[in-house]
Every structure is written in C-alpha cells, then in structure tokens.
Symmetry: D2
C-alpha cells in the first residue's frame, strides 16, 4: 500500500485563533484525513526532532506532501538535503500553496519560485488544461473555489513538464496552479489551493486532486541509477 507522509509547519494553527477555528488539529490532520481511506498515512511537523523526517521515515515514504508558510527558514538544511536525495531516488513530493517558497521546492526548482499575491477572498476557478492527465481523473472541466487568496503570474519556476491546471481569479489574474515536474526519479506536483484560513482541504474536488496526485507521484521501479567511474 502506498505510504504517505503529510508534513506541516503547524504554526499558524497554534498561534492564530482564526486558523485554529478552521483547522483545530492542524492542516496536516485535515490532509491526512482526506488521504487515509486510500493510503497508509503518517504526519510529521516542524517541531518534532528532525522535523519528523528522520532517515527511516523518508526511507519508508512513497509520497511526501508539504505545507509551510511562516517558518520556511526554520527547516534545517540537513533535512532539506535528505528530502532532496529521497526525491531524486524516486520519492514523490506534493508541494501545497505557500509551500512554493519552501527550501525544498526552491532547491528542486533552482529558481526563486516567487509570484504575485493578494489577500482577496474572491472566486478562483482552476481550469483543467490537460484533460488526459491522471491527476484530473474524476473532475469536471474546472474546480471552483468561492473564496481564495490570489496568486498571480509571473511564477518563477522552470517550464513545467506538464501543466495541468491554470487558475482564473475574479480580481483579474491567472496562475499556473497545477504543475508537474520530474527531478531524478522523483515526481513533483505543485498545487496552489490551500490557504490557512479557508477550509480548502474539505473541498471534495481538492481532495480528489490530492488523492490522484499521490497515485501519480508514487515511485516507479525503473532501472538502476549507476554513476561514477565505469571501467
């Protein structure tokens, strides 16, 4: 059974009553809940030793999901190194919302991962631009979210291997909100929705995307990655 580790910074929920009201047990609990009917799910958070991402945890993780916002810099470089190694060896990585600015995403992309944004609370529609992609299985032609933060272009990431969603914002902007990458043997999916004060992870379409994305990002056996001196 596919093994998922749901990582969360878990600060907003403990420091801000508005967030705690939406996610009383933390965003990780909401995501884990959504994935637990299909996968074997663990959670890990910043304050745990090694941020809950010790070698043995990663070694037994097929797909890691990542949510962070306030404390990207508090993540130890050593742990970022370790996560990167596991991704390159095949572990899937799903980066959510403000995780675009996490050390691990910037490390794997090689760019600033910067963007434009606005606290907005107006409608977002995530249009499917690649209806043949396994990540959109079971969805209609778009996902509508009545209240969201706005993220706008330019989004400073490498051209995605495959663009799956593009967002329309009522306020007048667009954003490449579902982007697929491969780095080494690992599959990486960036998915925009997920603000801390809006219960995005209770939306059924968003839950469907998360489930599909875990399946898509699960490792393939592949062939040997042999490097070095070849006699």
């Amino acid at each position: 059974m596919t093994s998922v580790t749901v990582w969360n910074e878990y600060r907003h929920e403990r420091e801000d009553d508005d967030v705690a009201a939406v996610y009383p047990d933390g965003i990780h609990a909401a995501i884990a809940d959504c994935l637990s009917s299909d996968f074997e799910v663990r959670t890990a958070t910043l304050e745990e030793p090694e941020h809950g991402l010790a070698e043995e945890v990663l070694a037994s993780t097929d797909v890691l999901t990542w949510w962070g916002h306030l404390a990207h810099d508090a993540v130890a470089d050593e742990v970022v190194d370790r996560v990167q190694e596991h991704v390159l060896e095949g572990m899937g990585l799903i980066v959510l919302h403000s995780g675009h600015f996490s050390k691990i995403f910037k490390r794997l992309m090689g760019t600033t991962c910067n963007l434009q944004w606005r606290e907005d609370d107006r409608t977002e529609r995530l249009w499917i631009v690649d209806p043949g992609h396994p990540i959109v299985e079971g969805l209609d032609e778009c996902i509508e979210l009545p209240e969201t933060e706005m993220y706008g272009e330019p989004f400073d990431v490498p051209e995605p291997d495959r663009l799956v969603f593009t967002s329309w914002f009522e306020g007048g902007e667009v954003f490449r909100s579902g982007c697929c990458y491969r780095r080494g043997n690992g599959r990486i999916f960036y998915f925009r929705p997920g603000h801390e004060t809006i219960p995005i992870y209770e939306n059924e379409d968003v839950q469907q995307v998360l489930t599909n994305a875990v399946r898509w990002a699960s490792p393939t056996d592949g062939s040997p990655r042999t490097f070095g001196n070849r006699p």
Copy 2:
C-alpha cells in the same frame, strides 16, 4: 532584411459590412502595415492562384503569418503540403486567432486544435508567464483588450515548448494564448488575439507582439538536415 508574407483568407471583409468597416482593405493590409516599418512585407490571399503561395514566394519568405476563419477547407492540400515543407526547412509561421483551425496548424500540431469559445465582447487580459522571452520584449506585465471574443480551455494542442501568454477573460475562462513550438527547423507561434469585427491589430501591444514574433520566428542557419541511406 527579414522577408514576411502575410496570408489572409480575405472573405469576411468582402462579404460582411461590419468587418469591412473595421478592415476596409482586409486584415492582411492591417497586419502588413504594422510590420512594414521593420520588415520586407508581401501579402497573399486565398483567391489568388495557388492562394498566393507559389513555391517561389515561399522560397523567399522568412516568416509567414496566417489568418483564416470561414474557408479553412478551401485551402488546397497541395499548398498545405508546400507550406509544411517550408516550415520544416526553417520558415517561421505565425498563426493568428481563428487560424487555430487552419489545415496548416492542425497538420503541424497533429491534434484537433479545438477549444471552447463565446462571442463575448468583454475584457481579455493576456498575462505574460515568461517575462524572459523575446516575444514579450517591450511589453508591460499584461496586455489588456477591452472587447474580445472568448477562447477557453481545453485547447487541444501538444504541450507548447514554451508558453508565453495566458489569457484571463472577464466571463470566467482562461486560455493559453501565446504558444511557441518548433517543428523541424521551423519556429511556430500561435497568438490568440485577432477577431474580425474588433480592430485588434491596431492595438500597439498586439503590434509589438507581432513584430517581436516575426524576429523570433526568423530562420537560423543551423547545420545540414541530411536524411536517408548513410553508407
């Protein structure tokens, strides 16, 4: 000096008074006018012998622009073959608006090139998602067009080599409105704006894009394309 041939179906303008009012000399005249200060420009239209695209015309063309809508099927397959050959050998091709359904674009893409659309007359914003691309030189962060027809996703084309513009439509849709491809040695740019009853080609930003796109699509010398039996 870069040599451009501006091709136009030229039917709307002769059959419909509303279109004639906007483009009295044809859409090709408006486009040629915009490009003639930087390039050597000729025009060609459907009703001319060989649609104005005889071998000697194409052989001396660096970049061909294409506008068609009502009469895609009236373009002879033999001429489509010839244009395709020249593109593969290095001639640039700029496909405009409803040209997405032209035989030559479908031929080069290998897909239906279908999309969603609506006569709409509301605002479109073309956001630049690739600010480092030569096609956007001199532009601000987006192009705003107050009244346009809507084109929406899914757009059935191969994943672009490079996505340059994504459109936001007031009515709620998005569209990949500036797409770069290479086929053989030829550079291809699809650019969405250009409805027949709206004077899109008088917009300065649109004119800037057309000029930049011709420069970008101009042939490179490259190295030999040698095929066949290799002794």
Copy 3:
C-alpha cells in the same frame, strides 16, 4: 484487462523467404505472443477489410501497436483519420521501427519523421537515459542487440516529451530510440528496434519494454474534453 491490438503490414513475411524464416506467422504473431500473457491481445493486418481497424475494433482497444515498412501508402487515409481520433481520445499507440514513416506517426508528429539508416548488422546498445521511467522497469542500464540495422540522427520529430532510450551503434552513430509523446489524451511511444530479418521481438529485454510500454500507454480516465460554443 488492458486490450491490445497488434497491427502489422504483413507483406515482408509473405513475399520474402528470409523474413518468413524469422517470422513464419508474421511479426504481429511474435508481438502478440509476447504480450498475450499480460494483456488481452488481437491482431490486425493491412489486407483485412478496413485493415482490421474498423470503428468497433478501435473503440475496444486500449493500446494499438504499429509495424509497417513496405506499404505505408497503402493504408487508407480514412483509417488513419480514425486511428488519430482514437489516439486523441486516449488510445495508446506504440510505433515500432520502420513505423516511423507510417502515415499515422507522421500525422501525429507533424514532421517528416525522416532519419539516416544503414543495413549494418553490427551491435546496437540502447542506453537508458531516464532510469525513473515506467517503460524501463526491470531493465539493466542498457539493452544490447548484437546485430541491427542502424538508424541515425537527425531524427525529424518534435522534441520528445520524455526521451527514454538513446542508441549507440558500433558503426559510429547515435539515435533517440525511445521517445514518449502525448497528443490529446493519447500516449505515444516510438521504439526503434524491430527489423524484419532479425528476431528482435524474441529478445527478452525488448519484450519487457513492449510490456512496460503497453502499461504506460493505457488510457487514463481524465476529465471531459468539451469543445465548441460555451454559452
């Protein structure tokens, strides 16, 4: 269970004793044999009515494999249209060896699909350049074929979405011999090995690739492909 249709031109084997000695029941029989332990397999050949590819056959095919060489032009355009439509709707397509010059592959690529070649009978090594790809599952770092025809660059195809194999030829050439594409909802894999007088399809590694490729190219449900006027 995944349903595979194995298409073969089936001319060499009936006209040339050397080929008949290698493939007495036709190349399609050898390929079908290799795939039949994992999939539901049918065969179809050029001489059958509609080349064995009637609408009801394609409608119940998940993945189509294609081998042709002498008689590409004998394939009716109407059947090519039909295969293209099914690919764009999601049917997988695996194009083998000299099938690079088939009407259906050229149609989907939009290029000449030309290359360099030599009857050579020396060694080919297919190196895996993408060890994380599902198509190479279970293979070692390269596939060695002791005697093959040479195919050399340039190979006039669009840049692959994903390059999986690159061939080394003893005679001094290289070739992109395993190329993945998506067109519409359909997955397309071009795989170079497969000459008619060499029993390539009895090679276990080649059989492994064919099996993996069928799995990879099988359709995904995805989301609706809705086109046209959007009120």
Copy 4:
C-alpha cells in the same frame, strides 16, 4: 557588444605539468582567446577576491562561462547565490565539461548532475540532434574529437528544454552532451567537451559552438519580473 566573463578554477594548470603543457596560461586564457574576436571578454579565477565575481563584474556580464573540476567546494556559497541571482535575472551561463559538478550548475538544476565516466582517450562524436538550433550554426552533421574522456548516461539532470548534441563514444557509451535550459530569464547551456589534458578548446568546431552558445545565451530585454503583494 556582448560582454563575456570566462571563469576558471585554474588549479590543474598550476599544479600539474601535463596540464600546464596544454594550457600554459590556463584554460580560461584559451577560451577567452577563442571568444575575443567576437565579444568583449574578461577572465576570472577562483583565487581572486570573491573569485573574481564581485557584484559589479556580474552586473556588467552578459554571459558567464564556467570551468571547474578539483575545487568545486572551494567556491563560496555567497558567490554561488550571486551568480544564481544574475542568471535568473537574465545573464547567460555556459557550463563546460567537469563543471557539471559545480555548485552553480547543481543549484540551478536541482539534481545531483552525476554521470558515468572513464579516462579513455578514444574517439568521441558529438552528433547534432537539433539541426535548426542557433548553437549548431556553421557545423557539419557531427563534431569528431579523436581523444576524449568518456561521460556516459544516466546524466542526472532535468529533461533539457532542448537537446542539441548527443555524443557517441568509441568505447560503447552515449551522452547528452549539449543541453539547453532556461531558468528565470537566464539561458543555460551545458557543453561536455573540455578535458584539461587534451587541447579541446583549440578545435575549430568546439570554438564555433562556444561562439554560437554565447550569442544564444545573451540576455533578452523581455518584460518586467514583478513579484510580491499586488494590491
């Protein structure tokens, strides 16, 4: 006039007589010499303050070339940060040979950039797989180098935006030896040839590639890269 900074680690040449015999003034001098007829060229080396890459140097550099081998770790992270920033803002970067393991290349790729290798001294042929690319202008169908070190696949880099060269090695391997990337506004070209004990940079074809690559990697003006809160 395009301004080029040629960076070299400059250790081999001072520590090893065999290398000094080939490159008495350093590899940087040989590269600078080759580029100086077409561009404004400076050099910079590891032992200079800030490795010769102070802010004002980078701010006036259009394209930076990078050669390193023994002392990748001696490059200060702060300088790597600065080079990365300039690349993302548009400065071109040409990474040569063993520079695949430099901090700056690994930073921009997000992968290990590992590969297989062998001291070999047999023939390499760099085949052009993209004859329409500006980097191959003026070349024949391949570049032959009589004696080289071997680099083999897998090469742990992201799928190139554009693959230009693929190498054939007499010993039996292949390698993607000319790879184009864009990161932010910057163009990056990795080019394999360039061993320290073989006078590769005196080869006229290699010199042609370097000259073409500098032209290709030169910055484009583009449009604004505006990030952050958008009111």
